[in-house]
């Protein structure tokens, strides 16, 4: 098998060996339904409690504030729908222009259902202005949903302050913390955050398991209705093996938090430094904002992201792009557009997201191959390195509307 250098940990992560091991017993041995009356079932129930305990330690909350879901998207939908259902007279939602589609597209859908949505803008550093939030809050606002950290740029948002503002105004606050959990310390008991979403597969647990944190005392209306699981807050037989795996992953994430912010951060900084030194005409996005320690969004001028990714992929290097062509849409990602990244750069944006499994040697390998790839594509590009941009003035007059 070809060598794989995996720098795409914001997309998904490798399941940790310990997590995998933790799960095994629940497939063929401890397979009982935790809701069953018999001793066999009761035995399994204990493991759910244990996982809940471990996750609450990672988040700094109470175990009973944890609801297991199937994924981050389910957590986001559950939180926002619950806020709307428990505030039936309020029809306004506030979120940001740079949310993950799990929140953004839900809000767009809700707009078609008669809700009004305010999308907070970001500046060229990808940062929101809390004054905009204060100005947007009205008596009609049911919920504010702001991501803790952005998946494309790694920019960290001041959600604790935002939650404080919302609390003062009596508005529910939800945060999509899918990218932040495990990468930056979180202590929910010290915040006014009402609801928070997690996805297991971003922290070395498998895909198909998530968590919704709902602060004690916050009214909750379930998304899935049926059995009494999760104290009536999320029906459906518990995904026991994955819940156990997620508990283990949470334990490891807490243990690795320091490494994430020293070792991984060093690798990321080294990657950016070496890219800056070896490749001309680049731009690191969100550099002037607080960022996750593992994420780097780099725009390469005059070349296109999908081409970069495919040539990197030939060398076994996995990364992501916010460029238009990779997704089949025709414009660069909504995050880059919201940040007003110039088009000469936006189309050539690559996201590298690291984990504790990456090494310095891998960073060197990536920079070496990347320099070749960019050089090759710039040789093909009619725009590269200071040549006149023949078509630019043709299109520049046409503003891309949003």
């Amino acid at each position: 098998m070809q060598r794989i250098v995996y720098f795409d940990n914001n997309a998904t992560t490798k399941v940790d060996e310990e997590v995998k091991k933790e799960m095994e017993i629940f497939f063929t041995e401890l397979y009982a339904n935790p809701s069953s009356m018999h001793y066999f079932g009761g035995q399994v129930q204990k493991y759910l409690d244990l996982s809940r305990q471990k996750i609450s330690e990672l988040l700094g909350c109470l175990p009973e504030e944890i609801i297991f879901t199937s994924c981050g998207t389910e957590s986001d939908s559950s939180a926002i729908y619950s806020a709307l259902k428990t505030n039936p007279d309020k029809r306004h939602i506030i979120t940001t222009a740079v949310e993950h589609p799990a929140v953004l597209n839900l809000c767009k859908h809700l707009e078609t259902q008669g809700f009004r949505v305010t999308y907070l803008k970001v500046d060229e550093n990808g940062m929101i202005d809390l004054k905009d939030l204060e100005n947007a809050l009205t008596r009609d606002t049911a919920v504010v949903s702001i991501m803790w950290a952005n998946n494309e740029t790694g920019v960290i948002y001041p959600v604790e302050k935002a939650a404080e503002i919302c609390k003062k105004r009596g508005v529910l606050f939800h945060t999509d913390a899918v990218q932040a959990v495990g990468k930056i310390p979180i202590n929910l008991s010290k915040t006014d955050i009402d609801m928070l979403s997690i996805s297991g597969h971003k922290i070395h647990a498998p895909k198909g398991i998530g968590v919704l944190y709902v602060r004690k005392g916050v009214k909750f209306s379930p998304f899935l209705i049926g059995g009494h699981q999760e104290r009536g807050r999320r029906a459906g037989t518990e995904n026991v093996p994955y819940i156990a795996g997620l508990g283990k992953a949470a334990e490891l994430a807490l243990k690795n938090m320091e490494k994430e912010n020293t070792y991984v951060k060093n690798l990321r900084d080294m990657l950016e430094k070496k890219i800056s030194e070896n490749i001309p005409n680049i731009k690191i996005n969100g550099l002037n904002s607080p960022r996750l320690p593992n994420t780097s969004s780099v725009s390469f001028g005059y070349v296109e992201g999908e081409s970069i990714l495919l040539l990197l992929s030939e060398k076994g290097i996995c990364a992501s792009t916010g460029s238009a062509c990779s997704s089949g849409s025709l414009e660069p990602s909504h995050v880059l557009m919201a940040m007003n990244i110039p088009f000469t750069y936006a189309h050539g944006t690559v996201r590298f997201s690291l984990s504790v499994y990456n090494t310095e040697e891998e960073v060197d390998y990536v920079v070496r191959e990347l320099a070749d790839v960019i050089k090759k594509l710039r040789e093909i590009s009619p725009f590269a390195d200071g040549k006149p941009l023949f078509g630019l003035d043709v299109c520049e007059t046409h503003k891309h509307h949003h």
């Binding site: 296109e304 495919l310 891309h400």
Partner: protein, 277 residues
């Protein structure tokens, strides 16, 4: 991940004819960095035979844009401008073993660059060529003209706005022109729908012919003071009569052939027979 063919990946990884010809005989530039892809095609053309002796490209864009540009240069080398001008975007896509539908605009870009280069060559030579009538820009985000859209619809049998976006990018930005694209598609196909005239009832036949006479043909004749009347329909045979100025006009015969027969056949089907009585 896109389902790219091996051939396409090969042309992307090892593109042929990258570069720019110095002092080229023709240059075709399409797209822009804002739009996400752009192609500069330079040609060396034999003045006597009008054959393309050499072709080079420079492309900014995704893998399929680079591969499409590269095969285009291969396809046109050795061809005369006349032969090369017959290459369509579908030919480019076929050469690559097919492209994902959302990437078809890459092949359209190749075809457009070639058209632009040929145009450029003749302009340089001082040869005046008929420029298309529909240069109106429909999609302002990606600078796509009505001509490009109509050509893509016709060549690729496009029926929906999404398909037009996949092939031309039009409508893929702010989406403000989607309504207009829909109308262009509708109008285009309205003229192409084949009608099973023969199995219609006489009343249905009369209605459809009357409608075409009133909406399409008579407005044209009216300008010259003429008028066309339906006399009878027998099976596939439509009998009509000129009235007014047309009845005595010496070029009425030509009008009948160029306007009346053509319009009716286009709107109904090619099997009908139109006769003057």
């Amino acid at each position: 991940m896109w389902n790219y063919t091996e051939k396409m990946m090969e042309y992307f990884k090892n593109p042929k004819n990258v570069g720019e010809i110095e002092n080229p005989d023709a240059v075709g530039e399409v797209g822009s960095i804002v739009c996400g892809d752009a192609l500069k095609l330079t040609l060396r053309i034999d003045e006597k035979t009008h054959k393309i002796i050499d072709a080079k490209f420079k492309t900014f864009g995704c893998a399929s844009a680079i591969a499409s540009s590269s095969v285009l240069t291969e396809m046109i080398k050795g061809k005369t401008l006349e032969e090369a001008s017959k290459i369509t975007n579908q030919d480019i896509a076929d050469y690559l073993g097919g492209l994902p539908e959302q990437k078809m605009h890459c092949s359209v870009m190749g075809m457009e660059a070639l058209e632009a280069a040929i145009e450029n060559y003749y302009t340089k030579k001082g040869v005046k060529r008929i420029i298309g009538e529909q240069e109106r820009v429909v999609c302002k985000c990606f600078n796509v003209t009505e001509k490009t859209i109509l050509k893509a619809i016709e060549l690729n049998n496009l029926k929906t706005v999404d398909e037009v976006t996949h092939f031309t990018k039009a409508g893929g930005g702010c989406g403000g022109c989607k309504g207009e694209i829909e109308k262009i598609i509708k109008d285009f196909w309205a003229g192409k729908e084949k009608i099973d005239f023969n199995s219609m009832t006489v009343v249905e036949k009369i209605k459809i012919v009357e409608r075409i006479l009133n909406e399409d043909i008579n407005p044209k004749l009216k300008a010259d003071g003429g008028f066309l009347e339906l006399v009878d329909i027998e099976g596939n045979k439509i009998k009509v009569k000129f009235l007014g100025a047309c009845s005595t006009c010496p070029s009425a015969g030509l009008t009948f052939k160029d306007v009346v027969q053509k319009d009716l056949k286009n709107k109904i089907n090619g099997e009908i027979e139109v006769v003057l009585v």
